[in-house]
Structures are given as structure tokens and as C-alpha cells.
């Protein structure tokens, strides 16, 4: 499991990295090659829960052009009682029409057999190129092959099979001490580009062996997604395929009652897990060398959200971040663009704790010290707008030559 450290995401008390890793109890996973990726790398993942009464919760992309697997999950799955997931990478199965829906249904059927669960309890997910039919023969064989590979320690192989342009692993396995007992949370995420969540913009699969009510899973996943995958941006682009799934097997026997201290602690651990994976996605933003957090406070929710997004998605701010350039004029420009009006708006800007702008006017500061402060891997911007009571944050990556290289050459 990848070592992780950030000043922005700290593990809460009672949450520890599992020394060996692996999935939460009651789960097995596998990753195999179905021949979708020309490289021959693994591109088909299967996750199965052995407990018949598993509960689940799910969130999907808000895109108006959702991929076939998203449409299938919404219309033909018991999203509160999932027991298996089948995922392919290398092909999004998007803009593929009825054939795409049929292919997704065939994946669901084969995975139901392979995982020994009912079809409507199998979620389907895809990621990759848009507008190309899936090579179904290879995939059906791969799903059968994955059955034989299913293992409690299969999370790493599963992760490899769902990754595309990801440069490093994004998976975790946490021991969580609750008053009622110890449970495990395991999770695997992929995503590096086409990342700005309407709520999420990638694939993330979370497992726990805690005993949760379906309502609890739904509530906690909703809250934690809002604080994690909804708060990141690599390139401001919403994918057709985003999905986040939480499945609770109950295999630990540790019951997380609603509105209990156990629920609070479990929620904190889930929050940590998803924020950590979200930040890892930003760090792995295509070509990213530096990551930033912008924190915006003021009097109006809609305004601070617009300002935070305008800064996080500004190619001028992102190239300055890449260049290690404390060019706060670009922050000012983004603020002005997000809050149109005859102005001038009296906004404040701090970079790494140094105030550079007060009430819309430049503040003299030690530019050499500031340049040194933004040379690190993490940079923090704070923007103050008039009023009080509202605050938000967005984590974002820089914009680099490698983003251009990766994306100018993606299909050709």
C-alpha cells in the first residue's frame, strides 16, 4: 500500500494502516487481461462479496451523456444491496447505444455467474476510450478466468485492472477501532484526467466488513463523497463513467448502529479514506508535479463555490502553479471573472500564509521568500470574500507539458 502523507488529510484517532493490506473480510477480488488494452496489461477486474446480506450505496456521474454501464446500474441494479462489481478499463462503453447496453448486460450476467450472486446485485463499470464497441469475446472469457483468481488479497490485482493513465497505486486497507469492535475499510480508486466531479469523476470501490444498515451506507457515502471527490479538479472535465460504490459485507459482526458513536467514528474513517484517495487522484493528475488547495471564505455559498472552482480550473493559475510562480494576479483575475460586476470587489488573498492582496489591492511582501514557499509539492491559497459564515475548499493539480503530451496523443 502506497505511503501517504499530506498536511491536508490526517488519519483520525483509531484508524491505522493494516500491516498486510488486503480486502475487508467477506470480499475477494481479481484482475485479469481481457485484451482490451493493446499493451496486454490487466484490464478486467472482478470483486465479489461472499455474504448474502451485503448492503451498499452508490454515486454516479451527473453527465448528460452517461456511459452504458452507468445507465445499466441505475436501471437494473439493487444499488442498496450490491454483492459484486465487474469493471473494465481501456474502453468506456460510452456513446455505444443499444449495443453498449447489451454488452454491459452481458458483463453483468457473466459476473453474476462468476461471483455467484443475482444479476441485479452486480454493478458494472467501464473506463477508457469513448465510442468504441467492447471486444465481448475476450471479456466473457476474462470474467470466467477472473473467477478462478478471486482472492482476499486480490485488491492490488483488481486495482491494476481498473487503472488507465494512473502513474501510481491508489488503494488502502485500514483497521478502524470502533467502540463496538474493530472493522476494516478497503478501497481502490482510479483516475488521473477528465477529473472534476459534479460529485466524483473516477472509479472508486470501497469495501467494509462492518454491519451497516443500507440507510447508513447511503448517508455516509453521500456525506463523504461531498467532502472528497466533489472537492477535486484536475482539468475541470466531467467524465461519462464516474462511479463510487460502497459495499458492506457485515462479515466482522461489528454492528454500526445509526446515530451511535460507532457511526460517528466509522464516518470519520470513511471520510479519511475517501479524502486520501481523492487527493491521490489530484496528485496523479495527468502530468501533475504540484498540487494545491484553495480555501475560500465569505458570506455566500454560491459565490465562494464559483470562486473556488474558477481558481482551481484556471489554466493561468495552474500553469503558474506548475512554474512555481507566486503570480497572485492570476488568482485576482479568476476571482474577478467568477464574480462579474462593475466592481471593484474587496477580496483578500494569502499564499502559504503570506497576505499578497487586501481589499483588492496589492500588499507589499517578501517576494523571494514567497517564491521559495511555493516551490514545494503542496501550495495553499486562501481567498477571503466579503461576509462571513461560508467556506469551501478545492484541491487541484497544476497544468504541465505532460498533460499536453498525454492528451494530444491519447487515441492516435
Amino acid at each position: 500500500v502506497t505511503a501517504f502523507a499530506s498536511r491536508w488529510v490526517e488519519p483520525p484517532a483509531g484508524v491505522a494502516e493494516h500491516p498486510v493490506g488486503g480486502l475487508a473480510a467477506g470480499f475477494r477480488a481479481a484482475g485479469v487481461a481481457a485484451g482490451i488494452k493493446p499493451s496486454g496489461d490487466p484490464d478486467l477486474g472482478l470483486l465479489a462479496c461472499s455474504e448474502p446480506d451485503a448492503v451498499s450505496a452508490a454515486r454516479f456521474t451527473s453527465s448528460g451523456a452517461p456511459a452504458a454501464p452507468v445507465l445499466l446500474c441505475r436501471s437494473r441494479c439493487r444499488l442498496d444491496a450490491l454483492g459484486a462489481v465487474v469493471v473494465n478499463s481501456g474502453n468506456a462503453n460510452a456513446a455505444t447505444g443499444n449495443r453498449g447496453l447489451e454488452d454491459a448486460a452481458r458483463m453483468q450476467g457473466a459476473a453474476a455467474m462468476a461471483a455467484s450472486v443475482r444479476e441485479d446485485r452486480v454493478a458494472v463499470a467501464s473506463t477508457g476510450v469513448i465510442g468504441v464497441p467492447l471486444p465481448m469475446d475476450g471479456m466473457m472469457k476474462a470474467i470466467l478466468a477472473a473467477r478462478g483468481e478471486l482472492a482476499p488479497g486480490g485488491d492490488r490485482a483488481f486495482w491494476r485492472a481498473i487503472a488507465t493513465t494512473d502513474k501510481f497505486e491508489k488503494l488502502l486497507s485500514l483497521d478502524v477501532e470502533l467502540p463496538a469492535g474493530t472493522v476494516r475499510i478497503s478501497a481502490q480508486a482510479k483516475g488521473a484526467g477528465m477529473i472534476q466531479p459534479g460529485f466524483a469523476t473516477m472509479l472508486c470501490f470501497v469495501q467494509t466488513d462492518a454491519v451497516l444498515a443500507a440507510e447508513t451506507a447511503e448517508l455516509l457515502l453521500g456525506v463523504c463523497v461531498k467532502r472528497s471527490f466533489e472537492r477535486i479538479s484536475v482539468d475541470g472535465q466531467l467524465s461519462t463513467n464516474d462511479a463510487v460504490l460502497l459495499i458492506a459485507s457485515g462479515a466482522s459482526g461489528v454492528i454500526v448502529e445509526q446515530e451511535s458513536d460507532d457511526e460517528l467514528r466509522f464516518g470519520e474513517a470513511l471520510d479519511y479514506a475517501l479524502r486520501r484517495l481523492a487527493l491521490q487522484i489530484v496528485r496523479d493528475g495527468e502530468g501533475a508535479a504540484r498540487v494545491a488547495r484553495v480555501h475560500v471564505h465569505g458570506g455566500h455559498d454560491a459565490t465562494i463555490e464559483a470562486v473556488a472552482r474558477a481558481i482551481a480550473n484556471s489554466p493561468l493559475v495552474k500553469t503558474a502553479l506548475h512554474g512555481g510562480d507566486p503570480n497572485w494576479g492570476r488568482i485576482a483575475q479568476a476571482v474577478g471573472a467568477a464574480v462579474p460586476g462593475a466592481g471593484p470587489l474587496p477580496f483578500d488573498i494569502w499564499i502559504e500564509g503570506v497576505q499578497v492582496c487586501a481589499a483588492g489591492v496589492a500588499v507589499p511582501h517578501d517576494t523571494a521568500a514567497l517564491a521559495a514557499a511555493v516551490a514545494g509539492e503542496e501550495v495553499e491559497y486562501v481567498v477571503g470574500l466579503p461576509g462571513e459564515g461560508a467556506e469551501t475548499e478545492v484541491f487541484f493539480s497544476d497544468l504541465s507539458h505532460d498533460y499536453i503530451r498525454i492528451n494530444a496523443e491519447y487515441t492516435t
Copy 2:
């Protein structure tokens, strides 16, 4: 004057490039070095109209953080009766507070003396780095020096003095045959990055020797800006300093009556001039190698506008354009992001006349022929959404390594 040709912007009948160039009658201009640019290049431009009854119209940025010269123009200028313009490049005079307003007022006062017009008839504009005070001593001397350089053929020197990262000249001098007689339109524009007009995102100064009522100037400039600088994007970023000014000297004696055939013809010529300059700004988009036009049609104005902007500002679409990659999946992704919903939205996509997506589903096509078709300098995308009666277009540039290089190193 730069040779210009595009399939998207054709000169109307009766409009011809002036063989020698130069400003419309009644105008003189100059460009000198004030010492703002470290290179020593010209960075102060002065434009003066000799006719006491000149009329004018103006448009400014919609940014909530407008620069001092924009605030000054709005509050202390007769925008319908301008007789001079003073412009500096290399420094935006933005986020400079009261000192910035005083500096802009001093520029206005000095230019009024230099051009022999009243202060409230002098417009002030700036472009460059945000948050740095202007070097006023050098500027006051430069304004006086510019007075001695004012010339009817000074448009090229004036252009050089207003340019920053521009790679080529953007100026024109047109003879326009009207039923009432021949008039001239001259114009100078700068702009390459931080370009997405709320209405305009750069500086553009337009002169004519036609006799216009102030209401006519206002009406025609408003319509033509909507069809030109409002329809372009380099990087989706709104500047703090954008300004477009039209001044009519009346020196030709050719009267353009309201609601006449002359007004119609003059409007067509102004429309051509501004669309041509707008397209040149896109072509000069920082690092741009290719330009594209996206045309969107459908049933709802707000939806087609959102889709057109989402495509024009998508870094994924822009990198694919840069790579000469007909990756229409990125167009589909941008459409889906702009029109959230449980979908699927039945949209159509054509690239260079080849349909690649129908009702949201991939259409088989000759991919080699399409790749060849998008290898040129101009690429055209057409997107059809449900419904009829609404259409729009946006011109945009690609996203290249040079954009990163230029903007990662802008202040450091």
C-alpha cells in the same frame, strides 16, 4: 498589414484592404517606449482625433475586479464623445487601489494635453502584469514624447506599443464603399491569452472617418462585439482590463444615417473588421498551432451556449485539436458535462462535415480520411442538440506546450 484569409470570415461586397494602410482620416497615432517593458520595446501608445465633434462607443470587461483604467473610463469619461486614447502595455494597473486610480488619472491628464482634448474625452487602457504600480515618471515623459510622433500612419507603431505576448500584428485599414461615399475603418487589436470575453477580452481600438450619430456608434459596436469578441476563447479566462473603443471622426463628410442602407453596409464592414481581428486573436492564442470553430444548434439558447463554451474551453478537446486527433469522444464528454441529467442526450456530432455521432451513438466512418481532414490549420466541429431555432458559434485555439511554457514563466 497582415494578409488575412479564413473560410469563416469573408469580406462583404464593397470592402477592400486599403493599399497603403494607415488610420482613418482625422486620426493620428504614435507608439513610444516608457520603460515599463524590461526589453525596452515600445509600451506606450497615444491615439488622437483632430475633429472636435468626434463620437464614440465603448465596451469593457465584465470582471468584478476591473483594473484602474476601466474604473476611470466608466466614471470619468464621456464615453460617447472620446477624442483620444492613451494605452500602456507591460503593466495592467490592476489591484493597485487608490494609487492605481490616481496614476490612471495622471495618464488621462497628460494625454489630454498631448492630444489637445478635454480630460473627460480621453480614454485610458492598460495591459500586462497585475498588482504592480506603474513607473509614472517614465510614462509622463513618454506621453509627451508620443505627442511629437503622432502621425496618420502611426497605427503600426501604436499597435506595437499595445502588444504583449502577441506573435503577429493585428491591425487593419479598410476602404468601405457606401451609397453615400467611401469611408475608412482602421483598427488595432492586441490579445493572445486570458481570452474569453464576457464580451471582449483584449484591447481593440477602432477608428472611422464616417459621420455617425453617437447612438449609431453605440448600436453598431454592441452588435458587432457580440458577434466577434464575445465568440472567442483562448483559455476561458476573463481579463481585468478588456476594452473595445470605437471613435468616429466624421472627417470624410460621408454621413451614415440611422436605419439607412449606408448604416447596413457600414455595419457589415465593422462586423467584418471585428470578426477578423477576433479570429486573429484566436490564431495568436498563446502557443496556438490550430484554430477551430464549433457551431451548435438546437432548441434552447442557454443550452447551446453552455455546450459551445464547454467544448471551446475543454482542455481535453483543445489538446486533441493540438494533436490533430479527431477524438470526438471528448466532444461527447463536454456535451454531457454541459447538460447534466440522467440522460442519455441524443446529440449529433460532425467533424469537418463527417458525421461521427448520431443521437448519442458512434457512427462508423473513414477514420484515416477524418484524421487527414483535421490536420489543417482550421477545424470545424458541428454539434446538433434536440430542438430547432437556436444556433451559436465559438472560435477557439488549441492547447499546446507553448501555452504552458509562456504561462509557467510569465512573471518569474
